[in-house]
């Protein structure tokens, strides 16, 4: 009597939708219950059984395994696949790499797994539970696993690249055993007086960028147009150290004619300087060299050595107080003008005032301002020279006629 829907009008669509949703749910379940780490653990168990190590096979977990590092606000799940990382499951010889225990290197005693985990030294994404994610070879993870292949891209050994990680905590050291390349970098950094121009940890010069957290700088803001090879901050650093003016046009940074190794050493040092906080118990007692060279900037200057003629003392000041970073005597201008004949061009009393406070002199002298412009508006930094040092410097300069 009443026209209605045929009762089974939606039968086929309903059947299709039901089956489709059932399949979807099954696929979800399959994906959930067959994670990569589960397969790896299975494979390890099978491998151990084939080698007859049944007790060891039974000890292989069937879980996500992790090292929880509450102090570092981190969790390292690397050991879900690298289950035998501490050799507690099997110590059989010639295990395949994935199952091999971590080598017992000299510094392992001071860096135990429960305190440092894996990613503190190796990089990678501790949170992830799949290989690509854990090795950090994914988008949006800027701390990839430091592999041999990655190191080789920069002509480095893996251990050398990993020094970046060591220096996270060992930053205050002058030298740290095992960190040869960064040790070299630190030595060059001190010798070349980079802090004459660059700011560092609240001190240093004001002439150029602050390097305290140089490793955190956004790579996108670096000029890459002249950089060869891949666009990475490390590549930029290396090539910039080798030839600053090639990478940054009209760069005020002197070319120190560093060789490749030295450039890499400094580059690794720069990349290691990041804003990473960790609790005080992770800060190692700093290995400081006895201060052979006095820190110069914003400090009370050390008097020049008493020995020697004033000119000899002046040479010491010139070479050790950062003057030669920007000036040459003969051979043309560098960052600042060539100083040959400067005592003939300028009144010695004027030179003394100048050395005392360059900025004040420039502020009063318009002609000097125009001239400074030729040197990229870099006003000579006040080096805190005392009267004796200034006298000595002028005496030294007298030896070079124009």
């Amino acid at each position: 009597m009443h026209r209605s829907f045929a009762p089974n009008r939606d039968f086929w669509p309903l059947l299709v939708a039901s089956i489709a949703s059932l399949i979807a749910v099954l696929v979800v379940a399959y994906r959930e219950y067959t994670p990569e780490w589960h397969r790896q653990q299975e494979a390890f168990r099978r491998y151990l059984r084939t080698r007859g190590a049944f007790a060891a096979a039974a000890a292989v977990p069937d879980n996500v395994e992790q090292i929880w590092l509450p102090a570092l606000d981190r969790v390292d799940r690397c050991i879900s696949c690298h289950v035998n990382y501490d050799g507690s499951i099997s110590t059989l010889p010639d295990l395949p790499p994935l199952y091999r225990p971590h080598p017992d290197l000299p510094y392992m005693a001071k860096h135990p797994f429960p305190t440092f985990g894996c990613t503190s030294c190796h990089g990678g994404q501790g949170y992830a539970t799949d290989e690509a994610g854990a090795h950090g070879l994914v988008k949006h993870w800027d701390d990839p696993l430091l592999t041999t292949a990655l190191a080789a891209q920069y002509g480095l050994a893996r251990a050398q690249l990993m020094e970046i990680k060591c220096n996270t905590c060992h930053r205050p050291d002058d030298t740290t055993p095992g960190m040869d390349l960064i040790n070299m970098g630190k030595e060059i950094f001190a010798k070349k007086r980079c802090v004459s121009c660059h700011g560092l940890e609240g001190g240093g010069g004001l002439g150029s960028s602050d390097l305290t957290y140089d490793g955190d700088n956004n790579p996108e803001l670096l000029p890459f147009s002249a950089v060869e090879g891949e666009k990475t901050a490390l590549n930029w650093q290396i090539q910039h150290f080798e030839s600053p003016q090639k990478i940054v046009e009209r760069s005020g940074m002197p070319n120190y004619r560093l060789n490749e190794e030295q450039a890499k050493a400094l580059s690794l040092l720069m990349l290691s300087w990041r804003r990473i906080s960790f609790p005080p118990q992770y800060v190692p007692a700093a290995r400081k060299r006895p201060p052979a060279i006095q820190p110069v900037v914003r400090e009370v200057p050390a008097p020049p050595p008493a020995t020697g003629a004033p000119a000899e003392q002046g040479r010491y000041v010139f070479e050790n107080r950062g003057c030669n970073t920007c000036h040459r005597v003969g051979g043309g201008p560098l960052i600042g003008p060539d100083l040959a004949g400067v005592t003939q061009r300028r009144d010695e009393r004027w030179l003394a005032t100048w050395l005392k406070d360059p900025a004040a002199v420039v502020a009063k002298d318009e002609k000097l301002q125009t001239w400074t412009h030729e040197f990229g508006d870099i006003i000579m930094p006040d080096q805190n020279l005392n009267d004796e040092e200034i006298k000595a410097l002028i005496a030294y300069m007298r030896q070079f006629p124009g």
Binding site: H2, R3, S4, F5, P7, D10, P13, L14, A17, S18, A20, S21, A24, V25, V27, V28, R31, E32, V64, D73, R77, Y127, A128, T129, G133, K139, H140, W141, D142, P144, L146, L150, G215, N218, P219, E220, L222, F224, E230, K231, T232, A233, L234, W236, L271
Partner: protein, 434 residues
């Protein structure tokens, strides 16, 4: 034996076919969950090609979002220190956490899209006219709530994508004349996006906005019945001539009016055309709703399997990603903003006011006022693209297409440094650390 098997099969498949119309109606009225459906629904309302069931789809998406959202709340920590890492844990080690998050994300994107399409459908079929104007306004508010829900949820992962999308979004809010700064301040709980902004967004996202949606959704549904069902049944819904009014039939679910001659609003709304073309809600409407739900559920799962919800680096206020984009449904505003920004030598007049506030504001006011300005004949209600409404449908379609095109440009073609690239063109590789 055979009857036993049949009975077993019946028991297993739990089929139910009402023996009488009364049983069918009672089944609806007596059930807490079903009683807000009419006992009977016109056949025309069932059609796929009239409504595309977009309202039902968005309701089911909201259901999926509620369920996955509540489960996610057990694992998510709304703190700037922990939020990002709790999401990492949800993705990596929480049981089915990846599914919850992916499904929540996909359902959210789809809901924005489907609610928008639902609005288009209602406009093109003229279903916002006369008594339905109120529901049109409620729908507009629901659309805004949907956008706000999605936007507040966007910040919660506390990654670069979240942080900067919300930075762009709240900077647009700043362009509101006079009150802009205050709006942004109240929204963020400060002048910068930090802990207070995260908590505000969280509470809005999990309590305030869903509650508002729920209340308005209930009202929206009730209004649909009150206004006479779907507009497609309107031609038949004209008041019945007095002569054809029949005395009440015993056993029918009329209202109080059932005891006196005449029909009530309820009976007309429930089945304007009489018994002839109406079907019992149970099981017919119910079955179709199950079908729609299964389809929506399956689609969200398949999408979740194909593509995961993004999680970029942890939020870093000192490092702007390149390019920094608003959530996709606001990208048309960001495009307008970029286009209306005027640069003359050193002078830059931000397009924030024009592109970010005035244009969407005018569109919104126009949409709200339109039911009261529309003068086309009421006989066009409930039909797709009637000739009489050609002009306004064309204007509306153009606006919708423009929004869609701008969104697509924003999503697919804006590359690093806000440069335009063809979708098939590779973006330049951005420098990395190592």
């Amino acid at each position: 034996m055979r009857t036993r098997l049949t009975r077993l099969w019946r028991w297993l498949t739990w089929t139910w076919s009402p023996a009488s119309e009364r049983e069918a109606s009672t089944a609806i009225v007596e059930n807490l969950w079903l009683h807000w459906f009419p006992a009977k629904v016109d056949e025309e309302s069932f059609g796929w090609r009239y409504s595309f069931w977009l309202g039902a789809i968005s309701a089911f998406l909201f259901l999926i979002l509620t369920v996955t959202g509540i489960l996610l709340m057990f694992f998510y920590v709304p703190s700037t220190d922990k939020a990002y890492w709790s999401i990492k844990d949800i993705d990596c080690v929480v049981g089915f956490g990846w599914l919850l998050r992916n499904q929540h994300r996909w359902a959210a994107h789809l809901m924005v899209l489907v609610v928008f399409l639902h609005m288009l459908r209602v406009f093109f079929t003229g279903a916002y006219r006369a008594q339905r104007a109120v529901n049109w306004l409620v729908g507009l508010v629901l659309l805004l709530l949907t956008l706000l829900l999605s936007f507040t949820g966007y910040l919660l992962p506390w990654d670069q994508l979240a942080f900067w999308a919300v930075t762009v979004g709240t900077n647009i809010a700043k362009e509101v004349p006079v009150f802009g700064e205050s709006i942004r301040f109240v929204l963020l709980g400060g002048t910068e996006i930090g802990q207070s902004a995260l908590v505000r967004f969280y509470v809005l996202h999990v309590v305030v906005l869903p509650a508002a949606v729920l209340v308005l959704f209930a009202y929206h549904m009730w209004r649909v019945r009150r206004d006479g069902g779907l507009a497609v049944t309107d031609p038949a819904a004209a008041p019945l001539p007095v002569a054809s009014q029949t005395p009440p039939v015993e056993g029918k679910t009329y209202s109080l009016f059932g005891v006196t001659p005449g029909t009530s609003l309820e009976t007309r709304a429930a089945r304007p055309q009489g018994d002839g073309v109406a079907a019992a809600s149970s099981p017919h409407l119910l079955r179709r709703l199950i079908l729609v739900f299964l389809a929506v559920f399956t689609v969200t799962i398949i999408l979740s399997l194909i593509s995961g919800a993004p999680l970029e680096e942890a939020a870093n206020p000192s490092l702007t990603p390149n390019p920094a984009k608003a959530p996709w449904y606001f990208l048309w505003l960001q495009e307008l903003l970029a286009v209306t920004t005027i640069r003359y030598k050193q002078l830059t007049i931000s397009g924030g006011l024009v592109g970010g506030i005035l244009i969407p504001g005018v569109l919104l006011v126009a949409a709200a006022a339109w039911p009261f300005l529309d003068r086309t004949p009421l006989s066009t209600i409930g039909r797709w693209f009637p000739r009489e409404r050609r002009a306004q449908n064309a204007v509306f379609a153009l606006i919708a297409i423009a929004i869609a095109v701008l969104v697509l440009i924003g999503v697919l073609m804006r590359g690093p440094y806000w440069q335009l690239y063809w979708p098939w063109q590779a973006w330049p590789e951005l420098p990395r650390r190592l």
